[in-house]
Amino acid sequence: MDLIDRYIYAVTRRLPTEQRSDIEKELRGLIEDMLAASADLATKSASGPASDQTNATIRVLKDLGHPALLAARYRGSSQHLIGPEIYFLYTMVMKIVLLATGGGLLIAMIVSLITGAGGNPFTIILETLGSLISGLAAAFGWVTLVFAAIERFSPEKIKLDRDDIFDPLDLPEIPAKKDRIHPSDPIASMIFMLIAMVVASFVPRFVGIFWLDDPASNFIPLFNSAVFMMYLPFILATMAITLTREIGKLVSGRWTLGLALLSLGVEIPSLILTIVMMSNKDLFNDAIFTQIFAWLHQSDPFYFDLPMKILVGRIVIGLGVFGFVVEAVKTFVFWIKRAD
């Protein structure tokens, strides 16, 4: 009896909660039916009744097969997070992402060691080990999440699941050369984006001016660390969105109107973030401008109407808006051509 309970438990724990009790009841009845049938056959057998029953139970359960397999049959639908159609892309992207993240962190470590901006070398190395673990885990999770979403929600997959009749007339046109997305494009963007994410996390330590003033090395960061760190989660989030878009481009392999619009839409959060950040006058570190003017032998930037940092911020915003407008026009042109 105990064996049967164990077997049924092993099956039902793999099933959705709402089906468990019903399948348990049915399965128990079925096993008892099978046992009763085999007992009819066994009455002629000479061995002792106790071991007989155990043997019969074992035989019946073996007939039913491995609980995991039986449960899988009860569940019916395919049970994978990422199916064979996109699995090769998944492993490819995963390798790239892990390598780029790991590489970026190592570069960050080396730069920190050289500039000495991150404290003593031992701390830097320990810190890097810590970031490697959390960074690689986060990268792994993110890639898996994106691919699981593609598996679930991509229109093509949904069609396959519904077993729709394949109509050759629905086959997409072979994309014109300019519409094709060569894998190297999104892959390069992904690598760039990942390294940028790592660098962004270390910006207060990296971005600034560094010079050797024998024997000491000097480093003045460009940003106020505290203010920058406040924005960091948003920076990383917008970068993660961009990274997702690149994976989408890789999987799609062609420019479609939807992808182009989505691609443009993804730029909006980064644009907003750029404007917000660059409008914050506390973002920049005053010391860096003082130092630059000292080198230029200008104690006071009298020839600027605006303080230097506000000007820099406006230039960056201008570039950001310009870039967005260019993208928008490109998308619009693509749309017009599509409409023909």
Binding site: I23, K25, E26, L27, R28, G29, L30, E32, D33, M34, A37, D63, L64, G65, L69, L70, R73, Y74, G76
Partner: protein, 118 residues
């Protein structure tokens, strides 16, 4: 030799798999519970694994071909399955298809090999 045997067994079970649903539907013109179906099919010389049949019944019910209810007036509670209206129609269609295929396969298998080459 054992590889060949394994291959042969795989091919046979693949062949059987296709006819399984039809044989189950055919028996389910009368209400049946899981084990009675197994012994019922065995009576016709059709072997089916319990681990395949029980989940199949639920799937057919979910697809709307069967209805089921618990019978509790017996030694142990049993879930009885039976064809509903859609199930009956489906059985008719499948049987027609089976007959047609059977005829075609017979002809194909018995055809002289010289004609196959043409």
């Amino acid at each position: 030799m054992t590889d060949q045997k394994l291959l042969f067994e795989n091919l046979v079970s693949e062949l059987r798999r296709g006819s399984l649903i039809l044989s189950v539907l055919a028996l389910l013109r009368q209400p049946q519970y899981g084990y009675s179906l197994i012994s019922g099919l065995e009576a016709f010389g059709i072997a089916i694994e319990a681990g395949t049949l029980y989940p199949l019944l639920r799937r057919l019910e979910k697809q709307g071909l069967l209805s089921s209810e618990w019978a509790i007036d017996q030694v142990r509670p049993r879930r009885y399955y039976v064809l509903n209206e859609l199930g009956k129609q489906t059985l008719t269609h499948l049987s027609d298809e089976w007959q047609r295929m059977n005829k075609a396969m017979d002809q194909l298998i018995q055809a002289p090999s010289s004609e196959q080459g043409g």
